[in-house]
């Protein structure tokens, strides 16, 4: 347990503050805000149109921001031999990767939730819509983090793994997008329940799928 805590502290520091060649939590956050900032320029300053479509844009931005850090979630540690050394010490990949999902979520999901009010302001969302977006992000981003770590583990060590990772993550994340954005439609509140269910399913499968991917990669 102490070993996992040490590993988690390292994961969180690396994912929040980054390192040369590893970025940090700032880049996905700026990307997320940039989409919300650019969208009104692209469609024009029609407040009604923005309010109707803005929440969906926030969800698309969140999904794409989740994909940005994929190539540094697993690959650098695999390359440097960390996973081999942990395996030698009997630390299960599943444990390491569960904590990595948590660290990844803390470093991108939570900042997105903090930035959502700013995005909502730029997109002219009202208070009720913002509230639904925040609840949706709280339920949906853990699922995005789980999918992200799984895909990162699957594509680590492959040439062009980063590009492939993005392509693989998008279809898996589509249910989260549909239920998340759908919850904002009139009468779509039950979308939040389906969003939570999809998120839980992703979280339940991810550590085992990612751990299996890393073990298979050793062969």
């Amino acid at each position: 347990m102490r070993a996992l805590w040490t590993i988690f502290r390292r994961d969180l520091t690396l994912l929040l503050f980054g390192a040369p060649g590893r970025g940090g939590a700032l880049l996905p956050l700026l990307f997320f805000l940039a989409v919300a900032m650019l969208y009104p320029f692209a469609v024009g300053p029609d407040a009604k149109l923005l309010a109707r479509t803005g929440a969906g844009v926030i969800w698309v931005a969140a999904l794409l921001a989740a994909i940005l850090p994929l190539d540094r979630l697993v690959e650098p540690d695999l390359e440097a031999g960390f996973f081999d050394q942990w395996a030698l010490r009997g630390i299960a990949e599943e444990g390491v990767l569960s904590l990595r999902i948590l660290a990844h979520w803390l470093s991108f999901g939570v900042p997105l939730m903090l930035a959502a009010p700013l995005s909502a302001g730029l997109l002219n969302l009202d208070g009720a819509q913002l509230w639904t977006v925040e609840v949706g992000l709280l339920l949906g981003t853990p699922g995005l983090a789980a999918i992200g770590v799984t895909i990162a583990a699957l594509t680590a060590g492959l040439r062009a793994g980063a590009a492939l990772g993005g392509l693989l993550a998008i279809p898996l994340a589509v249910p989260l997008l549909i239920f998340g954005a759908g919850s904002l439609q009139p009468g779509g509140e039950s979308g939040l329940l389906l969003l939570a269910a999809s998120s839980l399913a992703a979280l339940a499968i991810a550590p085992f799928a990612a751990g299996g991917a890393i073990r298979a990669g050793r062969e």
């Binding site: 070993a3 040490t6 590993i7 440097a80 081999d84 050394q85 395996a87 030698l88 050793r218």
Partner: protein
């Protein structure tokens, strides 16, 4: 110190559709050392990974009693972190107390790992292995990149580890000056 042992029985290794070696077997008790010899590409590193449990053998099996530590070409130290912190990360995981051999790294502890030379990085990986407190050392080309002085110091550290009842398996294409060293040439186990 607890007794330890490492034994391999009739190991074979296949990479892709090529059989690298077969019929590799040995038994090591505490204090013994084995030199895996053979030219590049014959499967020394694969055998190391099989012994470490990271690779499944195509045939045969490995038994060990006692903790394993592996030092290969990947040091598992964060490149951007100062060496002292990068080593402290593993010390916090292993919690085995102070290392007996320090490999002359005191002056480098605040240098980020990415600025270390090949030899210094090798010594850092060996220091991590020595500090792990593991009973069985698996060393993949430990002398690569080391000068004569540190090559000799590394072998002295291996001897000290054996004197305390530890086991060392060393894959190297260089000659080793170790006492009562057993040698296993993979050339004799070609399929």
């Amino acid at each position: 110190m607890q007794p330890c042992c490492l034994a391999a029985y009739d190991l074979a290794c296949r990479r892709g559709d090529r059989l690298l070696f077969k019929g590799v077997g040995f038994e090591l008790a505490g204090g013994e050392a084995l030199h895996l010899a053979g030219p590049n590409g014959i499967g020394k590193s694969s055998l190391m990974r099989i012994l470490a449990g990271l690779l499944r053998p195509y045939a045969g099996h490995v038994e060990h009693d006692g903790t394993l530590a592996l030092a290969d070409e990947r040091p598992a130290l964060d490149p951007h972190r100062p060496l002292g912190e990068a080593l402290a990360f593993w010390r916090a995981i292993d919690r085995a107390g102070e290392a007996r051999a320090d490999f002359g790294l005191e002056d480098l502890l605040d240098v980020p790992v990415r600025f270390l030379s090949t030899g210094q990085r090798k010594r850092a990986a060996l220091a991590r292995l020595a500090a792990s407190g593991a009973r069985i050392w698996l060393l993949d080309e430990p002398l690569n990149g080391l000068d004569a002085h540190w090559g000799a110091s590394t072998q002295a550290a291996i001897e000290a580890h054996r004197a305390l009842g530890g086991i060392a398996v060393i894959a190297s294409h260089q000659p080793l000056q170790l006492q009562k060293l057993r040698t296993l040439s993979l050339l004799e186990h070609l399929p």
